[in-house]
Structures are given as C-alpha cells and as structure tokens.
Symmetry: C2
Subunit: 471 residues, 2 copies
C-alpha cells in the first residue's frame, strides 16, 4: 500500500490528532537504545497514538486487511529494537495512553492502560503503603505495557521475580483486531487456575502476538525497612561464593549487585571522590522487610560475607545507603570513561549465567574483549547471574563497529555454551532472534507454530523474538 493511502485509511478510523506523519517526528520512532538502532535507521511509514481499545482494534483490523506491519511501542527505552519498526509500516505509540484506571487497594491490585509509567504508578502506590515490586533501571520512563511485553525485571528480581509474576490479567487486541480479556472477563481474583495460562504467554511476547491495551497487576504491601551491605573482595571467585553462602544462610536479599574490576575502575575514573577500593569485585546486598528483619539480615550477611571479603560495611540510614550504592548508580554512565571519547554501546549486554559460573564468565568476557580489541565494563544482578557487559568503542569507526559486533556475537554464544541465556531481562527483539535455535532447539518450532496461529499474515512486530524459518 502506498504511504499516502495508508495515512488516508488511518485518518478514516482514528480521532483527529492521532496520526504522526511528518518525517522529522517519525525519526523519533526509528530507534531505541540498542546498538542495532544506532547502526540503522528503521523509519516507520506512519505513527498512530490510539487512546482506546476501539481505536487499537480499528487500526489492527485495517492493518490486517492490508497486510501492513504494526509495531507497538511504549517509551522506547528498550535495548533490542523490540519497539522499532525494522520492516517499516505503522508504529503504534501507546505511551500517551497513561490512565491509571483503578487502584483497587482492597483487592491488592491495579488496573492500568499500557502507557502508565512505572515510577509514577509506584509513587501513587507508595502513598497507600503498597508497591508493584519489579524495578527496571528505566523506572522513570518505562511504561507498564512495555514492561509486560518485555517481562521486565531489574535489581529486585532476586526476591520479587519478574513482571510476569504480578500480571493477573490483560486486555489484548489480536492481530486481526479481535479483543480478548485474559485472566477472567471481570475478575478481581488474585489467584486462579481457570483456563489455559495465556496471560503468561503474552507476558514477554514482545508485541508479536497482539497489542496489550489494559493490564491488571497484583500489588504487594511495601516493606517498611531497607538496608545495604557493601562487601569488597580481593579475589573475584569469592564474590559468587559469598552470594551462595548468603542464600544458604536462609536469606533471600531483595537484590545482589556486582561491580567487577573493570566497573570499579570506570566508576573511579568518572567520579574519583567515590573512591571505590581497588579490588577484583564489590558486592552490594540489599535487604528489605520489617525493621527488625532488615537488622537481622544485614548483620547476618555481614557475618557471612566477612569470611571472604576484605571489608564489609552495612547501613540502614538513607544517606549512608545512597553513598554505598553510589558506585552502582553511576556505573552505566561511568562505563564509557574507560576510554577517552569512548561510547558505551548496548549490545551483548544482558546474558544471565549459572551462579556457579559467574566468576569464570566475567573472566571469559574480559578475555573475549581482549581478543577482539574491545574494552568492556562488567556489572550486573549477580544474584540472578545476570551480567551487564558494556562494550566501549568509537561507533563512528567502521572497524570498531565490526569488532564490537564480533565480540557480542561471541558473548551471546558463550553464554549459551556455559548453560546461560542470551538475555536475562532486556529481551530478544531484533538483535537476539538469531540465537533462538542455538538456545531453544526444537522449541522454536513450537514458538513459530503459536506465532503462525495468532498472526498468519505476520504483521505483528515482524522480525522480533522468534526468527522466521530459514528457507
């Protein structure tokens, strides 16, 4: 379909002001944070900003009839091109549809539209003593719809798991425009095993099965206390060993973060006054709960960590906690400092590996960096074995781009080899679909079968999550 026809068709089914077609504006929808989007500009033909289920359904029916690709998008904070229109067509921007429909505190749940921002929801909930536990780093920008599509998590997944665990039900517009409600048409139950578990199939489906237009989320009592333990290790191997010993002592911290030597250096270069000790690894344990519990667990973690760490410190007051945490807070920004005028690129940044292999993996990534001549900085959610690697390069030099791409390809394959996954939390999108067969084998056939059943024309966010069968 001609672009002008496409726009005309959409004008007939949408409220005025819901269509963006100026090429300058479209530019903003051509990328996310991924390296892939930096290297390519994936321009949409048109962007729509629907604000009702009916509008989303009308757009999908139109797109389905005319076989036009549709890419749903939240805040575009992703790192995998998941919300980027790699095959053009329509981008459906849901970020303006940010209604919190109901905070049903008496039933421990909320009903939101997809564009609600995570941080904003949690601010409202905090005032009522409640929270929605997953906590992506992008909390101030990312949308609940995006979190569901991506099955987002973050720091506190160790204790609180991923988004899927809190999704009680969804309203979804299918590729052909049909609207369904999962988890019960009018349900406010917090537990149910009625019907096939399709709610969870949509969680993490990256928009390839339909458009999420409403989310019913479980909320939890917000713990009143919080504490941070910082432990410094001379030897890298002691860090994951300490993590396991903490688990074995009966404690499930809310988060366990690691900075390896490369990250420590980056932080000290970026902000020398933080002055992290020269060590092979720093661990940060966060515990939460009631005040007595936090005190008990903080002390216990110190006791356990001291068996291996060269220094251990522990705080529950806000200022000291922020100070202990500061290295972790700045590391993503600091990473680029390991090289003058270097840029950190988002690629190969999200493997998750068996806890027992974290030290070996961190060393191997450093060795791979050396092999490819690329500086890397490692940090991450060690409690889940989730390693965020930051390659630092000059992306304007084609040879460096090539080196970085070769490095991250090695990192992804290596992760699978050691019993890990190519992505712990950032998702597959367009950048990791090619590893599906390596990681999942014959199960990819089942994924393709489901995709085909939902979307026989292949219009929903094509090129993401599940690779097409090779001819």
């Amino acid at each position: 379909m001609e672009r002008s026809q496409l726009i005309k068709g959409l004008e007939q089914i949408l409220e005025p002001g819901r269509i963006i077609s100026d090429p300058v504006d479209l530019m903003y929808y051509s990328f996310d944070s991924s390296f892939l989007a930096r290297l390519n500009k994936f321009m949409p033909d048109v962007v729509v900003t629907p604000r009702s289920t009916e509008e989303v359904s009308a757009v999908m029916r139109f797109a389905y009839e005319n076989s036009i690709p549709v890419t749903p998008r939240g805040a575009g904070t992703g790192e995998t091109c998941g919300s980027v229109p790699v095959q053009g067509g329509i981008v459906m921007d849901l970020s303006t549809w940010d209604t919190i429909e109901e905070i049903d505190a008496a039933n421990m749940q909320v009903i939101v539209r997809p564009g609600v921002i995570h941080g904003r929801l949690n601010e409202k909930l905090a005032a009522m003593g409640m929270f929605f536990p997953p906590d992506p780093g992008s909390t101030r920008m990312c949308t609940i719809g995006g979190m569901v599509a991506n099955n987002a998590s973050g720091l506190r997944a160790v204790k609180y798991g991923c988004t899927e665990q809190y999704v009680l039900g969804l309203e979804v517009v299918l590729p052909n425009g049909e609207v369904i409600v999962t988890g019960g048409l009018h349900s406010r139950a917090v537990k149910s095993v009625s019907g096939m578990n399709i709610t969870k199939l949509f969680v993490g489906s990256e928009g390839i099965l339909g458009v999420i237009t409403r989310v019913r989320l479980r909320i939890w009592p917000k713990p009143k206390g919080r504490g941070i333990v910082m432990a410094v290790y001379k030897s890298l191997d002691d860090a994951p060993a300490s993590v396991l010993e903490v688990y074995q002592s009966g404690i499930l911290p809310s988060g366990i973060e690691v900075l390896d030597q490369s990250a420590i250096k980056a932080v000290n270069l970026y902000k020398p006054e933080i002055n992290l000790p020269d060590a092979e690894a720093i661990l940060l344990f966060e515990v939460d709960g009631n005040p007595d519990s936090v005190e008990w667990e903080g002390n216990k973690i110190c006791e356990v960590a001291r068996q291996r760490a060269i220094s251990v410190e522990w705080a529950t007051d806000a200022k000291r906690m922020a100070s202990l945490w500061e290295g972790r807070s700045v590391v993503a920004t600091a990473a680029a400092r390991v090289r003058p005028d270097g840029t950190r690129v988002f690629a190969g940044e999200d493997i998750s590996v068996p806890l027992s292999k974290v030290a070996e993996v961190l060393r191997a990534i450093r060795a791979l960096g050396d092999k490819h001549g690329v500086r890397v900085v490692n940090y991450g959610h060690i409690g889940d074995g989730n390693v965020h690697t930051a390659p630092v390069i000059d992306p304007d030099i084609p040879q460096e781009v090539e080196m970085a791409n070769a490095l991250v390809d090695d990192i992804h394959r290596y992760a699978v080899t050691v019993g890990g996954t190519t992505t712990g939390e950032h998702g597959v999108g367009a950048v990791r679909a090619k590893y599906a067969e390596l990681e999942h084998g014959a199960a990819v056939g089942v994924m393709r079968m489901i995709k085909q059943a939902f979307d026989p024309k292949g219009i929903m966010n094509p090129g993401k999550l599940v690779p097409k069968e090779e001819a």
Copy 2:
C-alpha cells in the same frame, strides 16, 4: 482400534512390565477425588508406566498415528477428573518415574522427573537449607509433574505464589511424539526472557498440550523461623477487614487461613477437645522468615488484629503452633461431621473471590446451601480469597446428588458474577470446562486455537480445561 490391538501395539514399543491391562488394576485409574468420578467410572482401555522420554515419545507417536486418547496421570490426587480418562484410551501413569536427577544447590535449582513426590523433594531440600515453596495439602502424595500440569499452590501462595513461579524449564513430549525443551536446551540460568514464554503456557495446561517429562525448578533459601497468630472474630465481616489491615501494615504473611462458623462447628463436633470458640470466623496467620522478623511480624499482626478480634493468640514454639493450627488441620476431615453419616463431596470447592467480598461470599454460599437443602462447610486460603466449600450429602441418594450438583453449579456461576474465579488452585479438568466461556469470553477462542495447533487430532487429555466448540 480394538483394545487387544492397542495392547499389542504398546507391547511392541515399551519395555516389559510397563503395561497394565487387568480390569481390576485399571479400576484404580478410573477416578480421582472428584464428585464427578464418584458418580461415573471412567475406565481406561490400558495403562502404561513409561520411565524414559523415549518411551513417552514412542507411546505418543503410536497414539497420534492411531488417534487414541492419552491421559497423563501423576498420583491422581486431583479433584477435577484432570487425570481421569473420561474418553477412555491410554492412561499414562508417570508416578513411578520418580527420579530426582539433580539438586543443583549452587545454582538454586533442581531437575526432577514428573513422578517425584512433593514432600519427598522438600525433605531432601530441607537438609540443605533450601525449599520449593508451593505447598499443596496433598504434599505427601502429589507429584511434581501433577503440580506443574495443575499450577498447584496451597497455603503459602499468599507470599510464595503458585508453582508457575518456580518452573524454569520443562521437557515436554508433544502430542505427535516430538520432544522439546523449554527455558533453554541446556540452561541453568535462573532468569531469562529469551524466546516466547511457552514454559508458562505448559504450566497449568492440565496435560492437554503434551506430556511433561522433566522439570527444572527454582528453589529458595528456607526461612529459619515461623510463627502462627490465631484471631477470633465475633462478626464475619471483621475477618477480611483484618486481612486487609495486616497487608496495609506492610506485612505479607506466608499464609492466611479462615474457618467460618460452619467449619468451627464441624471441628468441634469432630474433636471436641480442640474446643474452638463459638464465633463467626477464626483467622490463622502464618509468618515466616528470620527469627527477629517472625517476632516483629507476629506482634504487629496481633496489634492489628486486636482492633477487631475478640481474642488473639500468638506462638512460635512448635507445640503451641500445632495446637493453634489443629482446627485447620482437621477441618477437611471434620466437614462430614455436620451431618450424621454425611459424606463430603469435592465439587464447587475451589472458588477464589475478591478479598473485599469474602464475607459476602461466605454468607451467600450458606444461603445457596439452604436454598438447595445442602449442608456446607467453608474454610480456605482467605489471603487469596480462595474459599473451599465442602458440601456434605449422602451420595447414594440420587435426589441429594442432584441437589448438590445444582448447588455447586450455582456456586461456580456466583463466583464469576462477583468478580471471582471458578477455581483458585484445584483446576478445571472435566468438571469446570463448561464455565470457560462464562469466565473468559472470547479468550476461549484463543485457548482453542492453541489447543488445535498443538493437538489437531484432539488426543491429549480430551475433555479437560478447554471445552470443545459447541456445534
């Protein structure tokens, strides 16, 4: 296919001793705990007891080629005919395949075959300071395979959620005999968003999409402390109000149980020495965690509950906890005592309703019982709004059977009307499939579409979970 041919065919693909065909033995596979199975005998044509993925795959290929129904079965502890061959054919008994393949404590996970018994696994884990949190009442009998197929939970779902939350990956034999691995072919990662979330689609699929032959489960540090609060309420309405106030105080107990007046009476009739107070409701809160946390939370719950309760008691020593808990322990058995020579039947026993409506629902169920002339006893996991209703009848009197069936039909429909679900944890099986459309509307079409894609011949556990389209 003739039964003799069927047996001959199976003999050719299975190890000797893997086929059960004596009618007396087959009887044991014709029922579970459900009222439906009490009213009908659903005899299999033959039972197989495979003990390898290859054997399961060979049986499925054979069944698929010959269009023979296959019903996978664990310990048969279900209450919905989920593992009962309502259309005859082959029952695949997986209970003898009870190998714990690996306890990978360093990576906080276990790999088991489907027949491993829940309680046995948790005994082994306890010795290492770990546990698999879901805790169905049938722990001493039920199998992990059955728990996964049913997405089982129990008392501690309030804090620890359902089985799905712990399933990292599965090996599944598809209806056509193909074997896939979900969650990563060789993965030992504890967090991943790689690929479509098909692991969770299989969890709770009640055997209609394939046979689960291996389970990779997340395990957690086992909390060292535990405490019980018992609170007695003069007015039923105060009980759910107390539950909400406990949540709002920032506490997530590991379990919150309710006994209503009918349950209190039943317990006192059954074992007068328990001597529960004459009240409209008793709540039992269980808290777990480190010892200081348990102490803090127990005291806080007492403080909150005292605002409404006529008496509150709190214990952390094993003997006193068991004594406080005794009423709850015996209630399922005690229920029948509300009527001399009465029998408790498992039907309509598992609705889960919005927390805000629990008091109203308990009253309505009593009224429905009166309307139909059936005695009912109510107890359940009030923290999740999960109400277990025990109808007590004489099942040998056809008129009473009719009355009970009419009552439970009303209970199921009523649950959906008040924003609840027909089943919080026991599953759909053959007894609740007919409510799918009422509860899920158009989403049932998607469930059918998925079923059709996996099992075009409709041989996998037919008649369960998703109803056939009405002609």
